[in-house]
């Protein structure tokens, strides 16, 4: 038989090697190989046993289609696209469409887009299918670049090439031509023409959406990129129009065999058989509208950022905390939009990763320091060496800035894993920064005074320490959102978080804010002595920068104070449950194979190697459980939270909602205090870090 190789003798040779009923296993054959291996003759696992109907086997992509069929096919194609990106894979969604399979198979042979015929509808169908296939290719690339395969996105491309080398402009041109052809059709019903035109426009918008990560935004300049906004708004209107159409009658017209398991059986498929997966019409339209709305929101918010503080708030509250609400397309595009291959931020020709890292530091501790000006005032040889050492530190800080952004763009589960990994990096960088800054002071007296005392300010160390503490707190509290903790552990989590928050607040008030206020006082004093107007203008610019930094500091401080008070009160409430016998946080249940100390040590293992703040021990944990609780004080503090936080000056809507949810949590815990029942479970509260106790 042509195209086949006879391996009978090889099979029998290998069978002969099996002796004593033992399986011969290659050392390279691991669990992953086993899981991916296809088991012949097992219906659940052997794609060769897939049964196809005559219509499916003999489906002809080059037969004529009418407008109703065309509409039906395109609708199912759009549903398949959204189904793939709803945690499914290509073979059971898009490649189940024979037109898609034909395009990718022909492309391997001809390196050209496929035309299904010369007549109007065939040309329209061709351009639409080619458009969708091109977008699949783009999404595969996005997935390979910034998403996790089989986690955020599942490809299984069956060795096909999804028009990777075809220029997107060519695809767009074809789609635009098809829209014109549709409008000019004389033989078709006007209402059908309108639907088909909208479908083509929608596919066009989908293909155009990756423009986002090619835009070059000048950060903080308020340049709104109106043309892309219009594309997105039109796309939203198109989806809204299509959402009103009942596609059932059109889908009934789709030729039999057009969507099948054919590709699973006929292409180079390493996967197990899968049922075709198709999400509902309603979900398809909702997802499509969500995607365009999300992209629009990203565009508008990112182009209207006024300064680095707004960028930080956007990344914290609109990206990091909201990331699981974003569609996978949005998540992938967002990461590519934020940081480009050339390390530019939002594609800015002038604002690169190194600028971002410096700005993040300026916005915390570095503004108007000897390190921001790099004016060392030392001899030329020492200066050269110092510059080299400082550049090394800055390179490490760039890596941290990059990692901080990557963390925010990943799904919430990944965020916690990435935080864990980066804690070691931050801890060692903190030591390096401290050695660098102290050595510079000892050798060259390079230093900015923290305040009126002689204490060193250590702005670089201080920044890294702050970021490390932020991540440690996020790591613990995010575990609550991800439902990682057993009820018996929950006290320890809030107790440890509260300890970290205490350190963070102390660092904030005694160092960061003190230092920034002191710098401002010094600038004010300097300004008073100046007579030259241009020098005054320069000083005023620096003063304004510091005023903005301090304002941002105060907002962050308010957030962490609120978290501190909540964790403090929750710790006390839980401790009171323990003291009153409604919960037991010192003994493990009777069947546990490990003791409480082992559980405690495994849970806080990520902090075990952290130098500062020192890790809390299990003994300290046990002692904490014996501290008396004044419920009156808890009630008083929870009651006052609502009065204490008005959030004036908070402009970011998601930030505002997050803070309000924290305040609401305080009221929720007040209500909980009325109950004297045994602590049984954690249920959803107002804020993911603060569940309700039942």
């Amino acid at each position: 038989m042509e195209g086949f190789i006879d391996i009978t003798s090889e099979i029998f040779d290998s069978v002969n090697q099996i002796a004593n009923n033992k399986v011969v296993q290659s050392p390279l054959f691991d669990l992953l190989e086993g899981a991916r291996a296809i088991e012949v003759s097992n219906k659940k696992l052997d794609t060769g046993l897939i049964e196809l109907t005559e219509e499916e086997l003999n489906f002809n992509c080059y037969g004529k289609v009418n407008i109703k069929q065309c509409i039906g096919i395109l609708n199912k194609l759009l549903r398949s696209l959204m189904s793939w990106l709803d945690h499914s894979s290509i073979p059971v969604t898009l490649l189940s469409c024979r037109y898609v399979q034909e395009v990718v198979e022909q492309y391997l042979k001809t390196s050209k887009m496929t035309e299904f015929g010369d007549d109007g509808f065939s040309r329209i169908l061709s351009s639409a299918v080619n458009g969708v296939v091109k977008f699949i290719g783009i999404m595969i690339t996005v997935g390979n670049t910034v998403l996790y395969e089989e986690e955020d996105i599942t490809t299984r491309a069956l060795d096909m090439n999804f028009l990777n080398e075809i220029l997107i402009d060519e695809v767009i041109e074809n789609l635009e031509r098809s829209i014109k052809i549709t409008n000019d059709l004389v033989s078709a019903d006007d209402s059908h023409k309108l639907i088909l035109t909208h479908q083509l426009k929608l596919i066009l918008s989908i293909v155009q959406s990756p423009i986002l990560f090619n835009l070059q935004i000048e950060l903080f300049q308020g340049n709104p990129y109106e043309f892309f906004n219009i594309i997105l708004e039109n796309a939203i209107d198109t989806v809204k129009y299509l959402n009103k159409i009942n596609f059932e009658e059109f889908e009934k017209e789709v030729p039999v065999g057009c969507f099948s398991k054919y590709c699973q059986k006929k292409l180079n498929n390493h996967n197990i058989p899968g049922e075709l997966y198709m999400i509902s019409q309603e979900s398809t339209m909702k997802n499509l509208e969500d995607i365009f709305q999300q992209l629009k929101s990203i565009l508008i918010k990112s182009t209207s950022l006024k300064n680095i503080a707004c960028l930080e708030n956007w990344l914290d509250y609109d990206v990091q905390l909201q990331i699981n609400k974003y569609h996978v397309i949005t998540r992938g595009f967002l990461q590519l939009y934020l940081i480009r291959d050339d390390q530019s931020i939002l594609g800015s020709p002038t604002f690169k990763l190194s600028h971002l890292s410096l700005e993040l530091m300026n916005n915390c501790t570095l503004a108007n320091t000897v390190y921001s000006s790099r004016n060392w005032n030392i001899n030329i040889n020492d200066c050269k060496k110092l510059d080299e050492d400082y550049n090394k530190i800055l390179n490490d800080l760039d890596i941290i800035a990059y990692q901080l952004i990557i963390i925010k763009c990943n799904n919430r589960c990944r965020q916690r894993q990435l935080i864990n990994k980066n804690l070691i990096l931050l801890d060692s960088l903190q030591v390096n920064c401290e050695n660098f800054e102290i050595s510079n002071y000892n050798q060259f007296k390079i230093n900015d005074k923290l305040s009126d005392t002689e204490e060193l300010s250590l702005p670089l160390t201080s920044f890294v320490y702050f970021k490390k503490l932020q991540l440690m707190i996020d790591f613990l509290l995010l575990g609550i959102e991800l439902e990682l903790y057993n009820l018996v552990e929950i006290y320890s989590i809030y107790w440890y978080s509260n300890y970290l928050l205490k350190h963070l607040l102390n660092h904030f008030s005694t160092r960061i804010i003190t230092f920034n206020n002191n710098k401002l006082v010094r600038l004010n004093n300097k300004r008073k002595k100046l007579k030259n107007a241009s020098q005054k203008i320069q000083i005023d610019m620096k003063r304004q920068q510091l005023i903005d930094v301090i304002k941002h500091n105060q907002q962050q401080l308010a957030h962490y104070q609120l978290l501190y008070r909540l964790t403090d009160n929750v710790t006390k409430i839980l401790r009171n449950h323990h003291i009153e016998g409604r919960a037991n946080f010192s003994e493990v249940p009777k069947d546990f194979l490990i003791n409480f100390e082992k559980m405690f040590r495994l849970r806080f293992k990520p902090f075990e190697s952290i130098g500062v703040p020192k890790s809390l021990t299990f003994d300290e944990y046990l002692i904490s459980l014996k501290e008396p609780v004044s419920l009156d004080a808890v009630i008083k503090d929870l009651e006052s939270i609502k009065q204490d936080y008005k959030f004036e000056g908070v402009e970011n809507q998601n930030q505002l909602e997050w803070m309000r949810s924290l305040v609401k949590s305080s009221l929720m815990y007040l209500l909980h205090l009325n109950s004297d029942q045994e602590l049984r479970s954690l249920t959803e509260g107002y804020n993911p870090y603060f569940p309700n106790f039942k």
Binding site: L45, H87, N486, K598, R603, P606
Partner: protein, 174 residues
Amino acid sequence: MTDHLFTCDSLTYHRFNLNEEEFKIITNLVSQHLSEPYSIYVYWYFINTWPQYCYTVKDEGKIIGVIISKINNHKDVRIRGYIGMLVVQDDYRKRGIAKKLVKLTIENMIKDDKVDEISLETEVINKGALRLYESLGFIKTKRLFKYYLNTHDAFRLILPISEKSFKRIAFLKH
């Protein structure tokens, strides 16, 4: 029978005795109850390499439960036991059989292979499995996004055994 380990509540616990008939029964039992479709190679991978960690429970000679596990050298620093599959037939549940199988596996892994920790994954929505493992002291260390083919998230659970389990991998490599 040489593979018989002990009897409890008139059910007999066995170390799996490799034979075709029982192999088929086990694979059927697992495929009926677990969401992930495993190929014959996965079963062979476990049972052929670590037959000592495949246990069955029988009622009057009929297999009604099974646990399949393995041992691996995790990142070259820790010996990690891994519970791959655990199934008890529906009508035999809530009798502590699964717990006995898990304990049997853990005890032997500690005794024979001196494991540093034991790990497994389970679906976030599999409350029964979570209750079982958490009641034994397994700690949920990670949530794995869309881990299973059915798109459910998973939890990774760890039972720490030795001191090595409390150290970060980076600090065990030196």
